[in-house]
Symmetry: C2
Subunit: 421 residues, 2 copies
């Protein structure tokens, strides 16, 4: 088998690190950490900055009908089909400055490094900054990759936030027309690989002292909204035995999520959001709302957890005369990555003298949607202390550059292997 | 022993019911139920309406330095000292239209009925609408009665709301000058009785089919604020075993409050308010705040409950690596009512052909502060379904009028008995 020449990043990767620095500056200064939420002007600014940077790098770039920024570096036409790479640049509230930015900036740097080294791939290389990967106030994530893969449905556009606004009606701020989003669906049948670089966001690589993670599966995610309806009463005069305290039923459900998820090492359960109404110190709460989620790489476990939570929430309500509505929001199945691509990436890592381990991703990614249609691989670099989605999120520059080199050379290797067939 | 002539309410009490209707109209229409929160323009309007109504009734009335509306109906000077009666007109958020209004409107009606019947008491009668009886956003209640009895301290004025504003700095909206509030402290040594009519706010009178409740004790109240500090992390990548989820520690504490208070029939525990931060569906919460309270007529039980909650909150934090701050806000001790006054009220009730039972008040009242300095009694009328501090709060007009008649004749009887000594 022919093996490609390994390529390095020009200027020791300074340009890539500068790009990350620039993206870290395009954030909402009124919040701690780094915030560039989808559906905001800042996110529009961020995506237009990426667009401009793609064009500077010689890519044929545009923003599609779903807000994805897409740039193409033309190959020499000798290989059939395309290779794709990218990530996202939106963030959670008060998140970190690495997350999706690393994958987008590295994908850009891959294109620039190919040109700088005089390498023309056999295949067109498509660099992408996916719109709205993080969960938005409507409970939706991976919006751009859903749209690109034709998986965005009218139900998604109808998903309401806590104020009752449909997602479709909130897209104006993102300069996206909900009536045209379906036009972003792309024929992906000629795509031979999607490869995404990302920070691990968990503690495993650091704990093992490994430089590179090769992802075997992406977790499934089952988000829920639960509403508890009790009775508003006076906190002093209403005996404990007759009160219908919605807040207590909600608290019991929050603990049930934790207990259920603690059963297995790979499972996760989080009750991220809670609201009591009327939320006054001396009034029994009439309603309580909890938003949360289960995650696991094991789809059967998720199904089992959903059943157990439904029973637990019912029980918490029943023992207090509190009504319970448990609604499961659009969920994502666990997705395995492409073994052939993982094999190629593993060879590249070894060839570059880096250590690696295989692990699953507890975070959802656009790669999960891509993997439903095209061979997909994800490459992880370590996250300090496993911290992510918080201001303390940190990855060493050396680790980012090593990851970008793995991404670059894995893409070259994939192209070379497909060209000779 | 001389017994006073019983007096009835003129016009079958229509004027009293009209006054309650007027007060029910002076509310915030943007919220369900009836809301006239202290520290708002509406509350200022309400208290000025009471002031005008007192003056119409021939009382010598003013608003004191603590926002209390005080009106005096002069007696004939033959008795030494004063008799007081009243309640409050502020409400909880989305509360009912009876609560304190019944006591204020009935106190007004007592003065008017005395004049209408040509009765001049041996003693001056002081009618009062106490400022800010309900718990405000600073965790304080009975502000006006504290000020009147000299129990308002600089610590109360420094109490902060969730935004960090001191109570003293929030008083502008109520047209109260925090630097002059101490001037409202009144020499109460000549007050021979304070009698307050109130709706029960609990289910006992209705369940027993009794028309009048005579209050033996007013509950103690121990409000708290608890802050849990964990670590913000990614909900998908952070294993359950290493996460420091402040929301789960808070939920465990909410359940501990419920469990502890369920030990005894007369005790109450409520976690009325909760806040998660950052409160996003897929982020582990860095902090969580719970505001709540214990109540009981038994001071020893409250001390015991406080200890148990401190242990429980510590345990909920410790098992998750979450820091816990539990702060006890200004509390109120349980207070017994005056047995001699209860005896007089019981005779009046029997004489009027009404049924009564003795019970304790699970709600705090301005009467608890008055009772620390003057002989005090409270008369309850039934609350439908025991509901209170909610829009469904309801008391039959016949019950209100019966209560007002008991209040009127109890005051007359107290005056007569003190005059002949």
């Amino acid at each position: 088998m022919r093996m490609a020449q390994r390529i390095g990043l020009p200027d020791d990767g300074e340009r890539l690190l500068d790009d990350l620095e620039t993206l870290a500056g395009l954030v909402d200064d009124s919040l701690p950490g780094w915030t560039r939420s989808a559906l905001t002007d800042l996110d529009v600014d961020g995506r237009h900055w990426v667009l401009a940077r793609m064009r500077e790098a010689g890519l044929d770039a545009h923003i599609d009908a779903a807000g994805n920024v897409i740039g193409v570096l033309a190959g020499n036409g000798s290989g059939r089909g395309r290779i794709m790479t990218g990530s996202h640049t939106d963030t959670v509230l008060s998140g970190g400055r690495f997350d999706g930015n690393v994958g987008v900036a590295s994908a850009l740097e891959v294109a620039r490094s190919l040109r700088a080294s005089g390498t023309t791939l056999a295949h067109d290389l498509v660099v992408i900054d996916f719109f709205n990967e993080e969960v938005n106030p409507h409970g939706l994530s991976c919006v751009g990759s859903r749209a690109l893969t034709g998986a965005l449905t009218p139900a998604h556009l109808a998903a309401r936030n806590q104020e009752g606004t449909a997602f479709g009606d909130a897209l104006g701020g993102a300069r996206v027309d909900p009536n045209r989003m379906h036009e972003a669906a792309m024929d992906l049948s000629d795509v031979i690989a999607y490869v995404e670089l990302h920070v691990e966001q968990g503690p495993n690589l650091e704990a093992q002292g490994t430089q590179i993670g090769l992802v075997t599966d992406i977790t499934g995610v089952a988000p829920f909204r639960s509403l508890f309806t009790g009775r508003q009463d006076h906190a002093g005069t209403t005996p404990m035995s007759v009160r219908r305290d919605a807040g207590c039923a909600a608290a019991g459900t929050v603990l049930a999520v934790e207990t259920i998820a603690s059963e297995q090492e790979t499972s996760r359960g989080t009750s991220g959001s809670i609201t009591f109404t009327p939320d006054a110190v001396n009034v029994i709460n009439e309603t309580a709302e909890v938003w949360g989620e289960f995650r696991s790489p094991d789809g059967e476990w998720i199904a089992h957890a959903r059943e157990r939570l439904a029973q637990a929430a019912e029980a918490e309500g029943a023992k207090r005369g509190v009504g319970v509505e448990l609604e499961w929001l659009p969920s994502e199945e666990p997705v395995p990555m492409s073994e052939p691509l993982l094999g190629i990436a593993g060879e590249v890592v070894a060839d570059l003298g880096l250590s690696h381990s295989r692990l699953y991703s507890g975070a959802g990614h656009d790669a999960a949607f891509m993997a439903l249609q095209v061979p997909t691989a994800m490459v992880f670099v370590p996250s300090q202390g496993g911290r992510s989605h918080c201001p303390e999120e940190f990855t060493e520059s050396a680790d980012i550059l090593a990851g970008a080199e793995v991404l670059l050379n894995t893409i070259v290797e994939i192209s070379v292997r497909h060209a000779v067939r």
